[in-house]
Structure formats: structure tokens, C-alpha cells
Symmetry: C2
Subunit: 241 residues, 2 copies
């Protein structure tokens, strides 16, 4: 992995309080419960829509009314299925993605992360620019850990962009709220580079850095590296042997 | 708070690894994304069902067909609303319940926890017996922390019951898979007592104890106490002044 001009992140910073860890662990337990709570109404409304379909098909409705209603019922079915898939993804994420010996393509990690967090960025007026290689970017780090690191990195960039552009007038803020994500192979290491225009120096908060502490440790343990400045963040994933 | 015959939980045990904390933090970030992913299909199918309703009301359907379909559409609406409420509850839980100066009634904490985790218990064949006081059980510990402690306690009991009854024949296991939850006021301290029949001594795993470490720390910091044995767990919440 090439040397980088950025300062390395501190690895020995004290981490979460017991109350914070307790809250996170409880969240993990709770998500399973929420997933179950969500499955029940989805099943109930799937059944209701199937029953409506049966009745409509046998009814004396005109051809155009019938096909109109059946089309809308298809939307209901499709959306229930979409929601069910999301619940499955949530359950899988809580359990941790299946551990395999296959290499992870970090391009899939970027896609997954942005499908989860893209809305949080756009809701804050942060425009996303992606430059992703059109060849595989394989790392030996497992999928679950790679996803967590990328989620942490995106959350970090999001918070820093928000801090740095706060109190800036609307028009200027629109231009400066851009997150650019580049993903390429650099000397056999998949490298994800997140960068954004630096607006204010004092926006670089130590508390933000602490929040990113575990990602740096996990990446270093795997033989990779994370570089941080106030306007960019580089994830050097360990390549495949 | 009265003295207890149980051994106190160790408070200085080393806690989560960086990888575990990273995973939990990423889950917190991800839940917001999942909530958004779930809201979109629910909105889409709510609109679809409203449109169907409009068409059905104006159609040439017989009175009985029309009222049958409208009834089923009401089910759709009700279930979508139910799912939306669950998504809101999930978002609130991730953000942390609003901090107020009001005392927390631990009976509400028990209800919330069991609504989230009841299904996980019944799926494991664990029968739940509740004996909850019919008067308020007020603690000065805030709602969010109280919920996390109760969730952690329930998860702990669930795992221990499962470990202790594993490899036991079906019939015996059915009798021994019972979790009894008592909640009463003991000398001004709200006390939640979780207990279950002890089946095998070696079922008491240290790893389980470590998982419960943060709950003990948070409770002790608040002036309460948690007692643990292999067949019971007592949460002594700090009372109101």
C-alpha cells in the first residue's frame, strides 16, 4: 500500500462509555423485534390485497375499471415485497453478513452503503458524485467488516460536511455540500477516497474523530489503513494475496 | 435498597472489541436507512389503496361486493399505519427516547421491552409469566437507559435459558423453558426480578456475563444495582427522591 501524505488516525483513543455500548447492544436486540413487528402488518395487507384481487376478477366491473384496479393491486403487492426484502436485509445486517472465504468487491460495499445512507445525505442537501472503477476492487477483508467501515466513513463525511457548512448562506452552502467518492485500485489495494470542499478549518472536531476510532482499528488489524483530514478520508483496504 | 444474597456482577471486565463496537455503530447508522427504505413502499401502497377505494366507490359493483372490498381496503390502511408506527418507534429508539425530568415507570419499560422481544422468546419455546404491580414503579433513571437495561436483561435471560435447556428432551425442555418476570416496589426501589428454573449448572457462561457488563455499570452509576445468578437476575432501579 502506498504511503500517504495524510496524518494517520490515532488508534489508542479511549472509546465508548458503558451507557453508549449498552444502548448500541440494546438496539441490536431491538431491531429483531422491530423486524417482526413490521412483518405482521405486511403479511396481513398482502392477504387483504390478494382477497380483493379475487373478488375484483370475478366481479361485474367494466373491463377498464377491472384492469385499473388490478394494476393498482399489483403496485401494492410489489411494494409489500420490496418492504419485505428490506426487512430481510435488516435482519441479515444485524446477524452480520455470512462469512465466506471469497474476496469482497468494495464496489458492492459502496453500493450497499449508499443505498442505505443516500437519503440521509440528500436530506441534508449533500450532493453525491461517484467515480467508481469499472473493474473489480477485491479486498481480503470480509464483507461485513468492509460494510461497517464504509458506513462509518460515510457518516463521518456527512457530519463533517454538515459542521463545516453550518451558518453559511444558502447559496454558498449548496455549492460546498458535495461529497465525492472515488474507488480505484492503487498498487493492488482497493482504495476508496471520500472528499469534499473544506469550508471552515474549525469544523474538524475531535469528537468526530473519536467516533471513527473503531473503523481505524479494524482496518489496521486487517492490514489496511485509514487516512483522515478535515476535507478527505481515504480507506486503503488490504488487497488479495 | 435492600442487601441481596446474590453475588454482585463484576464491573471492571474488559468490554467490546473495536470490531464489535464498529458493527454496533454501523447498525445505528443503518437503521435510519432501513427506516427510510421501508417508508417509501408503504407510502406507495397507501396511495395505491386510496386510488382503488375511489374507483370502487364510484363503480357499478353490487352493494355486497363493494362493501367487501372497502372492508379489505380498510385492513390495508390500518396495517400500513401500524407498520408506520413501528418505523417511527424504531427511529425514536435509535435517536434515544426524549430526555425528560419526569420519573420513569418501570412497568412501561417492561411492556415496551416485551412487545419488542416477546416474539424472540416464544420462537424459542420460552413461556412468559408476568407478575407486575398494579401501582406505579417510579425510578429516577431516565426512560432510554431503563429500556436498554431491561432489553439487555431479557436477552441475557433468553440466552441463558436456551443454553441451559439445550440437549434436553423436548418434553422436559417445555417445562423448564419458563421466564417469570416480577415487578414490585421494595423499600422505595422499583425491582424487576427475572427468574427461570435452573436446569444445568454448567450453563452459566462467563461470555454471557460479559455481555451484560455495561448494563451493570450504567445501573450502578445511577445508584441502582444488578444481581446475577445462573437462574435469576434482579434489577434494582434507583427510586425517586
Amino acid at each position: 500500500m502506498p504511503d500517504s501524505p495524510f496524518a494517520s488516525a490515532p488508534l489508542s483513543r479511549p472509546s465508548l462509555s458503558a451507557a453508549e455500548i449498552l444502548r448500541l447492544k440494546a438496539l441490536k436486540e431491538a431491531v429483531g423485534g422491530f423486524a417482526h413487528e413490521l412483518s405482521q402488518p405486511l403479511n396481513a395487507l398482502m392477504i387483504a390485497s390478494q382477497v380483493i384481487k379475487m373478488v375484483v376478477e370475478k366481479s361485474a366491473l367494466s373491463q377498464s375499471e377491472r384492469s385499473f384496479i388490478l394494476q393498482r393491486l399489483d403496485i401494492v403487492t410489489t411494494q409489500v415485497r420490496k418492504a419485505s426484502n428490506t426487512i430481510d436485509a435488516m435482519r441479515t445486517f444485524v446477524r452480520g453478513a455470512a462469512q465466506t472465504n471469497d474476496a469482497t468487491d468494495v464496489r458492492e460495499v459502496v453500493d450497499f452503503t449508499l443505498s442505505l445512507m443516500g437519503q440521509q445525505l440528500s436530506a441534508r442537501g449533500i450532493r453525491l458524485v461517484r467515480n467508481i472503477a469499472d473493474y473489480p476492487l477485491l479486498t481480503r477483508l470480509n464483507r461485513a467488516a468492509s460494510e461497517c467501515i464504509m458506513i462509518a466513513a460515510t457518516a463521518y463525511a456527512r457530519d463533517l460536511i454538515e459542521t463545516q457548512t453550518k451558518e453559511i448562506d444558502e447559496a454558498a452552502s449548496e455549492d460546498s455540500r458535495v461529497l465525492e467518492i472515488d474507488a480505484v485500485l492503487v498498487e493492488k489495494s482497493p482504495c476508496i477516497h471520500l472528499h469534499w470542499p473544506k469550508v471552515r478549518g474549525e469544523g474538524f472536531k475531535v469528537s468526530d474523530e473519536a467516533a471513527f476510532h473503531e473503523a481505524c482499528v479494524v482496518m489496521a488489524d486487517a492490514g489496511g489503513k485509514i487516512d483522515i483530514t478535515s476535507s478527505e478520508l481515504t480507506l486503503w483496504f488490504p488487497g488479495v494475496e
